[in-house]
């Protein structure tokens, strides 16, 4: 049997074809609705995503958590200078792999940009998250180049006032809070392969564990406090007494 015959039967897998398939790889954002708005069904890897919002609480984390939770186990998730403490219990509840989450605190703008660039360039980060002020078009261009070199996704968070500034990031989203508290208003200012979209409401329900309703509305009294070295009695909500170690 000749090689041609084998190829026609599809019995030979060729590396060249696999490369062309994979080069247009998209990563699902984790929100079905958002995926529909993005051509290709998700973020195209190797790009910078600019997320504009004014103050924390607009859904900026819930937007990303499903993506971070699905990050490959051998890649880092780099957070460079977040505005507050990313709260580990909440991230863990959302399924984010904390073993691979790296928090970087830099002291200057220059170091911050350098970290972002290194993370994006290295190709060993699934996502690089950075918080930048307005008026950074030149820096963003560098970051975009670094992202396309390394093939990861970069998320840059900037104030909403930057919406009118031009930006080299291939994806730009403006996030605004919604009254119901579980959705966010998203305007896609720029996206790869299609025209911009005006403001639409994206439900972020289920994206994070924080949308779980609390068990009861009454003040719950607990005997609490466990330090690892002392055994302690604790009464849980069903009334059973357990011994904690």
């Amino acid at each position: 049997m000749s090689l041609d015959q084998l190829m026609q039967q599809g019995a030979v897998w060729r590396g060249r074809e696999a490369v062309s398939e994979a080069s247009a790889a998209t990563l699902s954002s984790g929100h079905a609705q958002l995926d529909q708005w993005l051509p290709g069904g998700g973020w195209q890897s190797g790009n910078l995503v600019e997320v504009l919002y004014d103050t924390e609480g607009c859904g900026e984390l819930r937007l990303l958590l499903p993506l971070l939770a699905a990050a490959p186990k051998d890649r880092w998730i780099l957070w460079v200078d977040p505005p507050h403490i990313p709260y580990a219990p909440a991230l863990k509840a959302a399924g984010v792999p904390l073993e691979r989450l790296l928090l970087v605190r830099s002291t200057s703008r220059r170091d911050r940009l350098w970290c972002l660039e290194q993370g994006l360039k290295s190709g060993c980060c699934a996502a690089v998250l950075g918080w930048l002020p307005g008026g950074e078009a030149k820096a963003l261009r560098r970051l975009q180049l670094a992202a396309s070199e390394g093939g990861g996704l970069g998320f840059v968070f900037r104030p909403g006032a930057c919406r009118d500034q031009s930006s080299p990031a291939p994806y730009r989203l403006l996030l605004e809070p919604e009254q119901d508290g579980v959705s966010a208003g998203i305007s896609v200012l720029k996206r790869k392969g299609a025209w911009p979209l005006s403001r639409q409401v994206l439900s972020l329900e289920g994206a994070a564990a924080d949308s779980r309703p609390a068990a009861s509305a009454r003040p719950r009294l607990r005997l609490v406090g466990e330090s690892a070295n002392r055994p302690r009695l604790i009464r849980n909500s069903s009334g059973a007494v357990r011994r904690f170690r």
């Binding site: 696999a18 103050t55 924390e56 609480g57 607009c58 900026e60 984390l61 819930r62 051998d74 880092w76 977040p82 505005p83 507050h84 403490i85 990313p86 709260y87 580990a88 219990p89 909440a90 991230l91 863990k92 509840a93 959302a94 904390l98 073993e99 989450l101 790296l102 928090l103 970087v104 605190r105 830099s106 002291t107 170091d111 350098w114 970290c115 290194q118 993370g119 360039k121 290295s122 190709g123 060993c124 809070p177 119901d180 508290g181 994070a208 564990a209 924080d210 779980r212 309703p213 609390a214 068990a215 509305a217 003040p219 719950r220 009294l221 607990r222 609490v224 406090g225 466990e226 690892a228």
Partner: protein, 469 residues
Amino acid sequence: MKGLWLYLHFPLLPLEMRSEGRRAPLALLDERGARVRLCNVEAAEQGVQPQMAVATALSLVPELELLTPQPAQEPRYLEGLALWSGRFSARVSLQPPLGLLLEIASMLRYFRGLETLWQELTTQLEQLQLSACIATGQTPLAARLLALDGGFRACDPEQYRARLGQVPTERLGLDERLQSRLRGLGLQRLEQLLALPSAELAHRLGPELTACLDRLTGRLPDPPRYFEPPEVFCGELPLAYEVEQTLALLFPLRRLLAQLEGFLRARHWRALELQLELTQQERNQRLSVGHAAGEQCAEVWLELCRLRFERLTLEQPVIGLRLEATQFRDLERGREDLFSIAPREDTPARLLSRLQTRLGSDALCRLEPCADYRPERGWRRAPLQGRLSSAALQPGARPGWLLEIPQRLPSRQVGSAIELLQGPERIVSGWWDSAPVRRDYYIGRWPDGRRGWLYREAGGDWYLHGWFG
């Protein structure tokens, strides 16, 4: 199978090891300081020659820089180069004063032919800014003679024999008496000597000459003494000038790191940490540069050192470098995917090392949840390696952002502008230590729809503690 040897002759070694990459006319004085022993190309172009009196040289080239010799250091230069050449061959022999002999027959398969090896060798020498005459030969002596005679690369045996025949007999380094007899006999080239029957030669000119010729042609074995690399790496390089800027240290450092790389390659090791000592007039400045997973490549180490230098201020001008590597790890082959489309992937460890070197090791951390009900103690910074604690999940809803310092809210806003959605969740804890907590936590909605995590102290004050981002 015939052996193949490569001889490197460094005619300007004592000068070039101290030039630190400068392109100015330089001359190295002899031990009495009266005559020029060596001069570089820039000086030679302007007429300076070895053996010239210093006064003559200075009158020809007034800006000529004169270097005093350091005879004690010179054997070290060659040892350093022997370490460096460990990347080309595991069998290296020192040929004092200015030569190195490498056994390369066993390395040709690894380098896929002499061509590649030769190219890599010349590129490396260019990077280190060292001039060398390189020659290959089928015996150590032949390689040496060809290198001293200007260099040669063996192509086919015919050419090799013809080239070897052209070497003047003076290169054999015979004693003066024998030399003059050869001259008197009109034997000026090796081919003339080799054409004569050896029994006759031995009879007339003594067995010394025939032994030498037998070693040259390989009839008599001539195994060289191989260089034994030390167990730990310690390289020293005195600088010719006082250096006041850290970036100017990179060039001499590159040489030391190239030696280190050769040392590591010969032993199949990776270095985990380097100790760099900057020798100064009164005291020395020490710094250490680490790599999380260990590394061989000189370029990677050079970049890490450059990053480290950016954070460094020199207390005094530097007059010497000393590089030590004591922690090693065996080299394992990395996992490489033939069809991987990722263009250039750093290992995670390399990224971490780079970030840590520039920002300091405190700037990086991981996060882990903690078994404590107090929100501010419900997380902690964790080291970059190792397993994280799998603390029990905290009950109830927790925000993605936690404010470092709770923010005071005016009491009248709560309940009016800020609508309370959920709560209270009472957390009373920490009565056994210095930070007791007694709070009722609520989830509140701000007028624009954002949701925050707020609490009321026992005293009735309201604080914002987090955002549901």
